[in-house]
Structure formats: structure tokens, C-alpha cells
Amino acid sequence: MQRPCAPFAGSGALALAWVCAALIALALGLCGPARAQSAGTGEEVRLRIGDVLAIALPGEPALNKDLNVDRRGRVALPEVGAVDVAGRTLAEASTLIRNALARAYRDLDRLAVTLKDRRLYITVLGYVDKPGEVDLPGDSNVQQAIGAAGGLLQGAQLDRLQVRRGTRTTVFNYKRYLDTGDTSLLPQLQPLDIIFVPASPATGNVQINFDSRTLTEQGDAAESPSAVKVFGEVSRAGSFAYKEGLSVVDMIMRAGGVTRFSSIDQVRVIDGGEPKIFNLRKYLDTGDAKLMPPLKPGATIFIPKQEDEIRRSVRTVYVIGEVARPGSLEAPPDARLVEILANAGGPTRFADTTRVKILKADGSVQQFNLFAYTEGDKKPLPEILPGDAVFVPEKIEASDRPSWLKIPPSRAVEVIGAVQRTGRYEWSDEMTLLDLLGEAGGPTQNGDIAHLQILKARQGGKAISFDLGAFITTGGKISDLPKIEAGDVIRVPSLPDSPVDNKAKWVQLAKEDAIYVMGQVGAPGRYAFNKSMTFMDILTAANGPTSNADLRNVRVSHRNQPGSKVTKVNLAQYFATGDEKLLPRVRTGDVIFVPDRTNKEWFDDPAESTVRVLGAVGKPGRYRFAANMTLLDLLAEAGGPTTDAYQQRIVVVNLGCCREQARVFDLVEFARTGDISVLPVVGPGDTVYVPSSAQSEWKIFVDAMRNILPVISLILAMGG
């Protein structure tokens, strides 16, 4: 093993060194160019970062290895450390390496340094799949670097790629390179270069996964001043990159072509601030290239809508009236009516298809029943020629009743029930409920405006009730009226016509709106009632009490309140005095009962309020007693004493609060004298007893005598 040659000494050794140096110089002079050629350039290349040097010294394994030029341009030598070689030629580098190694090794005459390989350390950033540093062969270009970084992402702006080297940035058109394959368009890469791929402005500021269709629909020119703007009635308006040789038609095609609404007669091309009209239709009809204006960078192409102009051509057919898309159509000469209508979107729901009219170009008019045709009518479809007009009229509507189809549900309010003209009415928010009822002719005579019902369609079918009668009677702000919205349903309920005649209609009346009248009235039943009505109103509505009605004992049962309550009404006293205080306040749900005076049950009159008349009278019984009545009145009401009544001893039994007493009344004596002072007092709860003549003293005596006379006669006969 050879050792380092540090211990060189003596003149012989010096001569040997000179020889060695001369040989090395000769060797370098002969081999240098050959090695440079091995690097492939044919020129004296200078080492750079990423290069791989191979050193070899026979017999010294430690010096038989590859050395990489690191990022600082140095190679690391064994035993002696790093040597800066970047920027030097290979010969210069060899000398430097040998000199450096000479500090530790001897006999370096056979040391060989060659350029084994060249690498490129490139950093790729931006819109690539795997941004970062890539290690490439020394002669790699930008495309290889991008490929090593995973390739471009969708949305990358291809014409604005950058190569950054130190503080200098070079922008180049990568798309043009892709279009042409011209590698001269790509900047030459050097180690440690940074390739930056920008995002297209079309991707916006939000990171999402863009698809190619979305990006291309917005054009590919981004913010290039040379981009051609295409907008209007094209499928994909956008800004498209200008290329030499492209025409207006090419640009329109890049924008997806024109829509069916476009007016291709009036294509506008603005080039350099000067607008030009391009008749694309004529160009397509004639193929005359002179009609097409030249396209320059930065031009603007606008395709107007066909509604913006009056169209007239040798193929134009006009469709007007109730079709989905009225307007002019380009129709072939043999077009049929159905085809024309179909192209116009078809008749609307308002169309009267029974009277489709064809206005011929010569001024004549044809009428065609399309509805009948769809029903199998054999009449052929009329032929539509260019210049003709197809008119689809609206459905016929009566003057007082427009077709309901004319008002969509979203703008209609329905008015039903007891109004003059029920129907659907167009609603406007500035209208009020009163406007709507006025539009419907107002409520009918039997309309129950006190219980107007409104169904709120937009509030889940919520139903509300409104007392319009009270509002009109008492007054109020219009703003207090219920808010009506389109879609609502307003119902004016009917008052029952005649409960007697048609009881089935009672059910139309909600129970909370009704009052009940029973007993001795002309028309008992269930009646509509509201707050503004009174007891007498409802009694009158029931045709009033009958002749048998017991006016003194009218009863009102108050329902819909806690507990039970019955009010006794003395209507007779009311009619006698007219005092309104006697009339009860009734409410909906109450029951009014007018009892029968002639057919009353015993329990109708409590014992405390009647006088019992017993004995020899025409009609014994219990009789109601009023304070101003007397015994005479009672006797008269009871039919008076019978013929066998003992009128001299009519007995009155008083049932007082604290004592009971009996008094006798001599009717015969009273009749003779007229002395009212002998008339006994009678009150409710008392008893009047009219004895028969058999109970008189004389009658008793006579009867006794009659009984003993046979005995006396017998005794006398026996004694005689």
C-alpha cells in the first residue's frame, strides 16, 4: 500500500518530481479534450452543481469513488475535505483535487478525474400534482421537470409559466411549446432553478376541483390582452386565446356555437375600436369569405338576440298569440302548422286551439281547429309558407266571467258562499277584504257577515273568522281588516233560510254561533245569533210566543259558562211594564224555553206559589196566585162554587211564615152586603176549601132528625 508522499526529500527526488509534472502535463494535454467530449458538449464545459465526478487512483481504494458537486459547488474529498469546483473546467478541477489530495497522499501521478454524469436539481412549484424538488438528468427540460413533479393540475395557466433563477424570473408560453413542439420556446434549465406553474384566473379564489368543461367554458385566455372576447347568444361566452389564422367563425365555434335565440344576421365584431356587422347567415348561405371580417388580437365578438331586431327573410314564419315563445322562426318551405307551433314552444294554457288562424302573406286568413285535429278530424294540417303568420288566440271569455285560467293560483283569491258572484278574483296586495267582497258583488241577503271565514292558504290552511258586521256597524281602521293574501279562500256563510222548513240547514250553523228556542213559540229551532242581537230578537225570529205560551214562566238556560244557571223571565210583566231590565241577556249556546200554559205539569209551579182550591167548586185544583188577586178571583178561576156548595162557610187556611190560621168567608152574606172587609186574606201556599151544603149545621140537624123519626114512630106504634 502506498503512503502519502509527505516525506519527500533530497535532489534526486526533486528531479523525479519535475519529470512527473511534465508527464502529467503531457497527459492532460492529450486526454483533456477527449474527456470534455465525453460530456457531450464538444466544448470545454464547466462544472456545476449536480455534476458527478469520478476519481480513480490505482491501488488506492479510498480514491476510487464518485463525487457529487453539492449545492455549494463543492466535492468532498477523503482525508482532505471539500474542494470548490463549480464553475471550473474539468482540468482546473482535476488540478485542484490533485493538489488537495497531495496533502495526504503520495504518488498521485496516476490520479484520474473524469466527469461521470450531470444532474439537474430543479424545484417545481405551483399548479402541479407534487410540488417540490426533482432530480433530473443534466439535459432535462421544463416538460420533464413538470412530469417529474406529477404533471400539471387542471386550472394551470399554461401560457404564463415561470422559471426563477436567483432574483430573475423568466415567463414563457408553455402552451405554445405544447402546440408547436419548439423546444427553443422553453428556457434552458440550470441547477437550482425554480419552475412555477400559476393558476388560471378562471379558477377563482376558491380552491375546488375544477373540471375541464367548466374551465374551457370560461375561455382559455385568462387576462391576456390579445384574447378574443365572445359573448351574447353563444353557448359558452368567454375569453379565448388568440391564435394566428383563427377566424370569427372559429372563435364562435370555440364559444360553443350560437344558441337558437341568436341573430346570426347581425353578428358584431369590434376590432380596434371599430364595430363591424358580420352577416353570418349570408356567409353560410353564400360561402363568400369576403363577408367575414378579419380577426385580430383583442377583438370582441357579440352575437345579439333575435328579439332585439325585426327579422325578415325568405324563410321567416311568424308565430304570435298564446304560444310559449312567440316570434319569428326560420322554417323550411314545406313546414306544417304543428311543426311551427312546436318550435314556438306550443300553445299556452290560455290558448284557444279551436280557432288557430293563419294569416297568409297574400292577406287571406285561414282558420284551423287544432283541437279537432287532435281528436281525429281528417282535415289536413294547413301548410305554412314563409311570410305567413300563425295567430293563436286566447280562450273566449264572457264579459262578466273571465276564464279562470287567466289568473294563476298564485295571484287569485277565491270567494265562495253567500255572495252575489262567487269565483276566483285576481288579488293585488293593495286591495282589502272589502275590495274583494265588492268585486264579488257583496254578500247576499242571507249572507252571515258576522262570521266571515277566511282560509289562509299560506299558513297551512289556518282558518280565521271575522265579524264584518260588527266592523261595519261600529267602525274601525281598514288596517284592522284581516290581511288577505293570494291563495286565500273567503267564505261567507249563509244564515238558515227557515229552520222550520229545512232543518237540514241547521247543520250549516256552527254550534257556537247558534241559540236554541223551544216550547210555545211559532217556529222553535236553532237560530243564528251574535253579540249584537237580544232576547227579543231571537224570540221574534222564532215567530214569538204562541197563544198557549206561559209568559210568566219563560226560562233561559245559560250554557257555555261554568256551572249551571237558569233565568226565569216574566214576559207578561215585561209586556205590562215595558221594563227592559226584565229581559235577560242571552248568548250563543243558550236555550230559551217557553212553557205551555194550558198543559203544564204539576212541578211547573211550586206549591209555594200556588193556592189549592178544594171542595165544591167547578174545577178544584192548584191555581197560580198573584198578589193582586183575591179569594173571589180564585173561586172564579176554579169555576165557582157548585150548587151544593155551602157558600156561607168557605174556609181559607193561611200558611204563614210563623203561624197557620183558618178563616171563614160567607159568600152569600158578601153578595148581600158587598162588605169587602169580610174577605179573608189569601196568599201563595194557602188552601181554600168550599164545603158542601151537607156540612151545614141545619143539614146535620135535619139528617139527625131524619134518622130518629123512624124510631119515634116505632115507639109510638108500640105504645099505641
Binding site: 211594564t577 204563614g656 211564615c657 186574606v681 146535620i700 139527625a704 123519626l709
Partner: protein, 120 residues
């Protein structure tokens, strides 16, 4: 003729006595009544007269118009009071008198009063 020893006379006398006994054995009739139409005669009770005057005052104040039902009731109550008073039912008369006073008070309350005059 000696009546005492005539058997026929004795039998007749015995029969009369027997019939008399039959006649007088039943309950006697109650006394005669009164007060049936007492309102047609002057009252003998000064308290009742006072109530009647009070009702007359209310009449002058148009109670018959503005408290018609209560007025009618009061009239009926006064009639009843008079009858009970003279009909031998003093306790009932007292009760009725109290009721009548309350009724008259109600009428007083219902009637319009001159400004400054307070309800009784």
C-alpha cells in the same frame, strides 16, 4: 095532660136531644176572615202609610216609567203588605214590609237624581 108521664113526649124529647147531640158534636167553624181587599181601605198602620207615601213620591219622580218593573213589584208588595197586616198575619207583614223597603230603595237607586244629591 101530664107531659112528664106521656111516653110519646118522652120519646120525642129524647130524639131531639139525640139529634142535638149529633149536631153539636162536630168541630166549630173558624172565625170570619179579613184583609182580603185591604188595599181598598185606609191603612191603620202608620208604618205602612209611610211606605205608601214613599211610593207616591217615587211615582212623582216617574218611577212608573224609569223603574217600571220594580215599581210594579212594589205596588204588588204594598198590596200584599196591607192584606197581611189586616188579615191576622203580623209576622208575615213584617217580613213583607222589609222587602218593600228594599224594593223602594232599589227604585230610588235606579231613578235619576239631581246633581249633588246622593243616593239614599
Amino acid at each position: 095532660m101530664r107531659i112528664a108521664h106521656d111516653p110519646i113526649v118522652l120519646v120525642i124529647v129524647a130524639g131531639l136531644f139525640t139529634s142535638a147531640c149529633d149536631t153539636v158534636s162536630h168541630v166549630p167553624w173558624p172565625p170570619k176572615g179579613a184583609g182580603g181587599m185591604a188595599e181598598r181601605r185606609p191603612s191603620e198602620d202608620p208604618r205602612i202609610d209611610a211606605l205608601q207615601r214613599r211610593l207616591m213620591v217615587l211615582t212623582e219622580r216617574n218611577a212608573r216609567t224609569y223603574a217600571a218593573a220594580d215599581y210594579a213589584d212594589a205596588e204588588m208588595m204594598l198590596i200584599t203588605l196591607r192584606r197581611l197586616s189586616e188579615g191576622g198575619l203580623p209576622e208575615d207583614a213584617e217580613i213583607q214590609m222589609a222587602r218593600l223597603k228594599r224594593k223602594l230603595d232599589q227604585i230610588e237607586h235606579a231613578l235619576a237624581r239631581p246633581k249633588g244629591e246622593r243616593a239614599p
